[in-house]
Symmetry: C2
Subunit: 543 residues, 2 copies
């Protein structure tokens, strides 16, 4: 048994053998016994074995999720930790805007968020998948409350500007009708013996049953107007109580129009592993995580006279010699005065887009790697409305409407359902598309105007209910200069390992040093991997 566990190829061969000899049932039984389960790259709370020499110091550049994870863990095993952070707060792209928050993009136009109290908008990450075990475990340890993020709302819309007369279609209509039509087409081919798949007669029968059930087909295997299809897509008139409220079935959309409209492109979104349910958001905004980290790190630092976190520090140069790393930064609180910080080791979590512009002396292959990764564009716009018309007028509670207009989507708030108060919509989320660049190029006021114009084509209430908004163009955010590391397979092949490698006394961490770019989990796992290896290096280099 032990031998099998350490030899995956033998195990595979064994299973194939069992499968061939005894049928699939025996094979699955064997799989259960051998515990061939999916492997997670998060192995539970990190164990940094062995203690570093007294007063070993690590300088962490950036207090985003990667930097916060590293500081939190390293402080607990006795490192002296100093953090330099560009902004006046922790979190990096784990960022939430609330009323009164101000920020200025490159180009110099300041924005102040005018939201009412209790309302917020996450310009960066906004959801946490159930399998992002690392960030979820930190939420648990830091006592960050989570609530469901509604990814799929069947009553939200799919919108194609040049189809269905420009009218947004309820997801439930498109989804039921697409599945029903696919089921009907395949059932017809199957019943006419046109599938050249090696299926037995019994399997073909099962396939027909399955298609009928799954696609809501009628007894003739047609997807038709009636009870069956309305039980999926909804009725023309819903069933009621008492007299005169029998349900009236609704009529399916023409399948050809669904095909031509390209709205099918969004039908499987909710099935994608990255966002499939159950998926979460922190109660009150994403930066609740960053605040909790900062709170705990402050506590840990209280016991250490030499550990510290310095905000408003813009790193300008990173230097190392065989014994130390020295970082030069401008202190925004002291008129941009140039300061220096020195430590034994350095964990740099600065985005490559920014690091690329910092005076860093390092090995050539690391420099090449830093240069090799462009950053994806993204624009996110938050719009405050005086009432929650999407709930009150259109019965849309949370979730996402997708459109082929440049705003890409409209996200509805996933909390305070049914509240009589105001609400903030995600009015645009142009992600990794030409529209993201177009939006970024506009001054914030024009972005808001565009988002309102486009949004009003889906929700006319925009015209009367809008109050204020904020618009974040990630390529203009001075401490990020882009949204996320946009690795190509070629760049990853050539540069990824070099980016991970420890260069002397410096190593990198962040979503850009992971196979999960743009996700906080990438930052967590990258950070844990980096500090594990750095810790080993520290122990190995004991004088």
């Amino acid at each position: 048994m032990t031998e099998l566990r350490t030899a995956p190829m033998s195990r595979r061969r064994l299973l194939t053998m069992i499968g061939t000899a005894a049928g699939s049932s025996a094979m699955y039984q064997a799989m259960t016994t051998l515990e061939l389960a999916a492997e997670s790259p998060y192995k539970g709370r990190i164990k940094l074995e062995g203690n570093p020499p007294k007063d070993t110091s690590i300088l962490i550049l950036g207090a985003g999720i990667a930097g916060l994870v590293a500081a939190y863990e390293l402080l607990q095993v006795g490192y002296t930790v100093r953090i330099l952070e560009y902004r006046d707060r922790a979190g990096g792209r784990c960022w939430t805007l609330r009323g009164g928050d101000s920020f200025t993009e490159l180009g110099g136009i300041p924005q102040t968020c005018g939201f009412d109290e209790g309302l917020y908008f996450n310009p960066g990450p906004w959801r946490i998948p159930y399998h992002h075990s690392g960030i979820l475990d930190y939420c648990k340890r830091l006592e960050v409350s989570l609530e469901p993020f509604i990814q799929v709302n069947y009553n939200a819309y799919l919108h194609a500007k040049d189809h269905f007369g420009g009218k947004p279609q309820r997801l439930r209509h498109v989804l039921a009708d697409f599945n029903g039509s696919v089921a009907e087409l395949l059932a017809k081919a199957a019943s006419q013996g046109k599938l050249d798949q090696p299926v037995t007669k019994e399997d073909n029968e099962k396939l027909l049953h399955a298609l009928k059930q799954w696609g809501a087909l009628d007894d003739d295997y047609h997807y038709s107007t009636g009870k069956k299809s309305s039980e999926r897509r909804g009725y023309k008139r819903d069933p009621g109580g008492g007299l005169n409220w029998e349900p009236v079935p609704s009529e399916p959309l023409p399948f050809a129009e669904i095909l031509r409209s390209n709205v099918w492109f969004r039908l499987a979104v909710g099935q994608v592993y990255d966002v499939q349910s159950t998926i979460f958001q922190p109660v009150g905004g994403m930066d609740v995580i960053a605040r909790a980290f900062a709170r705990e790190i402050d506590k840990l630092m209280t016991g250490s006279s030499s550990s510290s976190i310095t905000y408003n520090a813009k790193v300008t140069a990173i230097r190392q010699n065989p014994n130390h790393v020295t970082v030069t930064y401008q202190d925004a609180k002291k008129g941009g005065r140039s300061m220096q910080s020195t430590a034994d080791w350095c964990l740099c979590t600065i985005p490559l887009s920014v690091l690329d512009q910092i005076d860093l002396v390092s090995v050539e292959k690391l420099k090449d790697a830093i240069d090799a990764v462009p950053y994806g564009a993204s624009v996110k716009i938050g719009l405050q409305f005086r009432r929650r018309f999407w709930e009150q007028d259109e019965q849309i509670y949370g979730g996402i409407t997708y459109t082929d207009l440049p705003i890409n989507l409209i996200g509805y708030p996933n909390a305070d359902f049914g509240s009589r108060g105001k609400g903030v919509l995600l009015g645009a989320y142009a992600f990794d598309s030409p529209y993201a660049y177009e939006f970024t190029a506009l001054p914030p006021e024009d972005r808001l105007k565009k988002a309102r114009e486009y949004g009003a084509r889906l929700h006319r209430q925009y015209e009367t209910e809008y109050e204020n908004g904020v618009a974040v163009g990630w390529h203009r955010v001075p401490w990020a200069l882009g949204c996320f590391a946009r690795w190509t397979p070629e760049a990853r092949e050539q540069h990824y390992e070099n980016l991970c490698a420890i260069d002397g006394r410096i190593t990198l961490a962040g979503e850009h040093v992971s196979h999960l770019p743009a996700w906080q989990e990438g930052a967590v796992l990258s950070s844990l991997d980096a500090i594990s290896r750095l810790h080993q290096r520290v122990l190995g280099s004991k004088p």
Copy 2:
């Protein structure tokens, strides 16, 4: 325009005409303009025009949702309302069990719920769809907080006891593989020109693109092991951060095994209009709604000397003459002493299963209607475990696992995600099936034992983590004698209108007098319809 609005057939004809002449786009545009939207049977807050004569009294039998809605509305327009309720609390099937709650089924075996504080289980309804506008509006008016109910959890299981070696399969695996295989089969038929559907070449191309995207097919239109399919079903090894954590794709299940296992029967559950997202549960338990109603009704009754709610009242006879209704009941607080209550009118919300056994003199067609509707069976079992192993060991946060074992499903709690405390699972929900009768026939302890044995085949942790449980068999609940009115189309055709009709001074309400049996919305809408008609009758019969 006005003419069109009042003549649906003309409107339909107009649309068809426009459709034929100008294509579907013009037709949809016209539909938008004419506002041909789905009709809801809930028309907003009820308006009972005109006031009843002073001291007009209505006796409401049953303080379930239908009775509570009626009392709440009728008190507000000046009726004297007296409620008789069998139990010691309001709510009826809108019922939540918490630690310390006791109840006794027919057969006499008492159960006391042993849950820890903060844990609960809803033996009756447990979810509220977004389109159940009536009950949702009452939640809003009564300030009942709602949170998402997780209907679909991609990481929960589908389980077929005789397939896949008896091992539960993650929903995400089955769903992705079913869709992928369906897409591949249809794409093959389409690309070989085997669909005898009248599709144009362009539409056929679109269909292929759509199938590829929706089904996660590879560039050869195959559903195969690799990045595309793993982005839906999940990986063998998830992508990580830093070194050595490239993702490893997972291998699809054999399609034939999926077909033979019948697990496809559950694939579309989350797409069903009745339960599709966004769907809610009240924070803290379903009976929070009943408690809020009772609280407001108490307030309204404070101002009325003659209105009252009497608990522990078992109705035994209902009589009427041209002027009054007289109801005889046993007062359980007074040793079952027989009491009487008289009023001008009566709204009876007692389930037909119970009403059938009450001495009621009424017109023959109403008696026939009462006799004509059998009640569906249901058993629900709540199990408390010492830790939330489904989250901690299996990353299942809320949602439902389905099995073909008699327990039918396991429901995971949709709140307190990530809590370190205990948790209560819905350990069985045998609904409207032979298993429901089998479970009901067992003494409660044996139901719990069975539920644990079956459940342990999906979650071995049952064996070590179980603490206590409660089991409700609805046919043995003395005040319900069944779960819900199980209308057949034939019974509805023959008896439904008779059941709705006012018989002299008595009328009925409840889920059984609706097109939404088993749903609280049916009780709400039935009640609103009944009191509207009763109010008209009252005004019409003014002396």
